[in-house]
Amino acid sequence: MCFPVLAGLIILLEKKNLSEKKLAKRAGIVMILSGVFLLWNILGESKSVLLFSLGTNLPVYFYIDELGKLFAAVVTIVWIPVTFFAGEYMTKEQDQKHFFGFFLIVYGVLMGLCYAGNLVTFYLFYEMMTLTTVPLVLHTRTREAITAGIKYLLYSLSGAYMVLFGTYVLSRYTSSLNFTPGGTLNQAAVNEHNTLILVCACLMILGFGVKAGMFPMHGWLSTAHPAAPAPASAVLSGVIVKMGVLGAIRVVYEIIGAEFIRGTWVQTMWLTLSLVTVFMGSMLAYREKLLKKRLAYSTVSQISYILFGLALLEPEALTGSVLHVVFHACIKSCLFLCAGAIIYRTGKTRTDQLTGIGKEMPVTMVCYTIASLALIGIPPASGFISKWYLAEGALASGISVFSVLGPVILLISALLTAGYLLPISMKGFLPGKEFDYAHLIKREPKRTMVIPIGILSALALLLGIFCGPLVQYVEKIVEVVL
């Protein structure tokens, strides 16, 4: 994981201006090598490394467990295509050195986050992630981008500090801050302080919820994701928000322990907030005209699907959530890359400008449509599988209102998703009689952009069709964690 960070730093610090092609090529090579490293890590046994201690009782400790491997794999699988896409996309932007430098550094930091073995390490890399992604968000240096960057920073920091409060308190009431399935709460110490621990759990969930865009802390997503350049938006929406999810999983299932929260007001609060977000995100997406902003609201909604599943504390729901992490990462990155391709080729950013785009960029739009279908949840595409598990989990949980309300809202949201994603495809391919066919230009973007989009959308589809091994893998993880 140091390797990408170092590579990124080297790129940043190189004074002379490399030509754009070379820069992109280097970034690509780094990513492929990182992919190799990843495979090597994943296929091995679970190992752990104690790097050093920040102070007494503050070890920086890595532990590669199955959950970490899965998340790391997701990050890498998304990152590699996006890097190649960025190679071509960024030729239209300035200051590529900084972009690629930070892009690679962020990847390294995310690896650290996935492999973090205890809460302190996790927090360290979480803060690093926030700090290193800010330059990506404000890359274009416009007024709007800088404001978005500051908003992002402040929201993320407030979330991080909420998590920190929880960490401070938990370090006293747990036997260790290492992530252990089932939790590490020290029962004897906790007994009189139940409320305190519950408050901490609540704060930590809200804190991680900031990154994951849970209501009411979702405000930054819709400004930051559109303002960033398309490859950055893709990873922000596809992967970085998932780190908030990872944080929630780690803390709830592996430090506090699911049993502690089951049936308490914290769980109810979490369920409510996530359902509200699911609905609200979809509604906002439906009404939004700016394409990237629409996708950002969609992310808000989709991540709360995942959070809802986590909040149910049921094995099927957890399976659904983790599966959706994987699927949504592929889908959303693909969608953002498509939006990026459209902007790159036509400069159009609003959905009402996109009539006939299917005729102009057929391959891109086909991929877009496949990804959309996956997101809506139409079998056999991947989204269907994860939503099925989520619904099953909700019904099985037997929690009063939510076991029925959950699937209902999921369904409504799916309809809304269709409503905000499909019209673009439809108008794109079937622009209608008044369309000016004479002025059509075939402007499919270059291969280096189209292939990544293709790969991601293929994954969105194929992971659904051939979901068996993946589902089994996730179920294994869930068994251990829950």
């Binding site: 920040l54 102070g55 503050l58 500051i150 402040l154 920091l157 500090y161 909420m162």
Partner: protein, 491 residues
Amino acid sequence: MSQYWMVVAILLPIIGGILVKVIPFPNLKIMKIYLEYIMVLTSLLVFLLAWNRPDGTLEVIHFMQDLSISFRIDGLSMVFSVLIAALWPLAMLYSFEYMEHENHQRVFFMFYSITYGVTLGISYASDLLSMYFFYELLTLVTVPLILHSLTRQAIHATRKYLYYSLGGAAFALIGIVFLMVYGSQIDFVMGGVLDLAKVGEKKQVLLVVYLIACLGFGVKAAMFPMGSWLPDAGVAPTPVTALLHAVAVVKAGVFAIIRLTYYSFGCDFLRGTWVQAVVMALAMFSVVYGCTRAVMERHIKRRLAYSTISNLSYIIFSAMIMTPLGLVGALCHMVCHAVMKICSFLCAGAIMHQTGKTFIDDLNGYAKKMPIVFGCFTVSALGLMGVPGLAGFISKWNIAQAAVESGRVQALLGIGCLLISAFLTSIYMMSIVFRAYFPGKNFSYEELGEIHDPTWRMCVPLVLFALGVVCLGLGSAPLVAFFNNVANGLY
């Protein structure tokens, strides 16, 4: 080591400073080299004294009965003196370049040097009266430093400083008098010197006295509402604000509060009383108040001054937890904040020195022209925010540990205040960083003119302090272990 070396350590910078004015140096350069030697020598002596602690108390001047000026090196002295000794020579080096084009340099350096000796006197004082003596002396010798530029603002700031400080000291004196009556002695002993037999029924009276004395020392420690002299003192030259008002003078204030609480009145006497709640509440309020004012402030040095007010109250908050862990947290932040704040102030000074700008709004884009200065500033900003891997995270962690350990609800609310403050800190520090690095798309760098990083005499201290922030962040374990020993009365 002999006890007399303590006196040497204190007198060396004082006499050395006086000699600056007396000896007719042929030119300023030679004077500066001479002065730097004095600084380094004194610091080395202090380090040696801490390493090879002399035992026992040395009585230097005897007034009457048991009133005297005496010195002793215990754990707290070691921490404070080593901190001062590490920072002073570097700050002096920095001030050489900074003050290059100023008038009255000799007088300035004389008092700058004398202040070093006086601060050492505070740290080595073995009883309340000796500490009080040097405390008042500190006020007096720092007055010429604030007054330096002789502008109207400077005179006003000095007057405010003087009145506040003398007033505070008077309040503190009340505490000393009562301790003399109700205590077995006025020496500093961990756990306090109150003679419970003599106290008897008068506990409430003593608690009120403690509050008065705490508020008195709290003037120097810039606790709300007595700390408003600190932002005004920002008119002083940056080496003064940096060293004195971020490190020496204000830390002397919290040092005095710690002495009063842990070594004179004693935690066991004070823990659980209404005074603890009141002072803790005041500290918590200062924490949030300081940060809020900082966000609103547009002048660079005033912003950092408000930040200091806030951070000092972290230390006071931690001390008010009144457990050994609380003391550890307080000491930790005392050290970490000193390094971070001196780094920030010196960066601010470098910016003002090179560009002449004093307001935040004028700082757009300068990071490209002064990479070293802004690099160090960013490190100190991230440190103050509490990013893991830097000093601030460690000290906040220790304070939080103490608060959680104590189990007091007020302490937990205090952690909340700390985190709110961290958030506000990120706003007011990062806004400077952002302006400097990301001025916006259509910014023309040529308008900034020929600005570059200052010479090595200013850059080296900056970089060293920034490195210090990182090292404290990564390798604090031995230091914290040492603090634990101090807090448990091992020295």
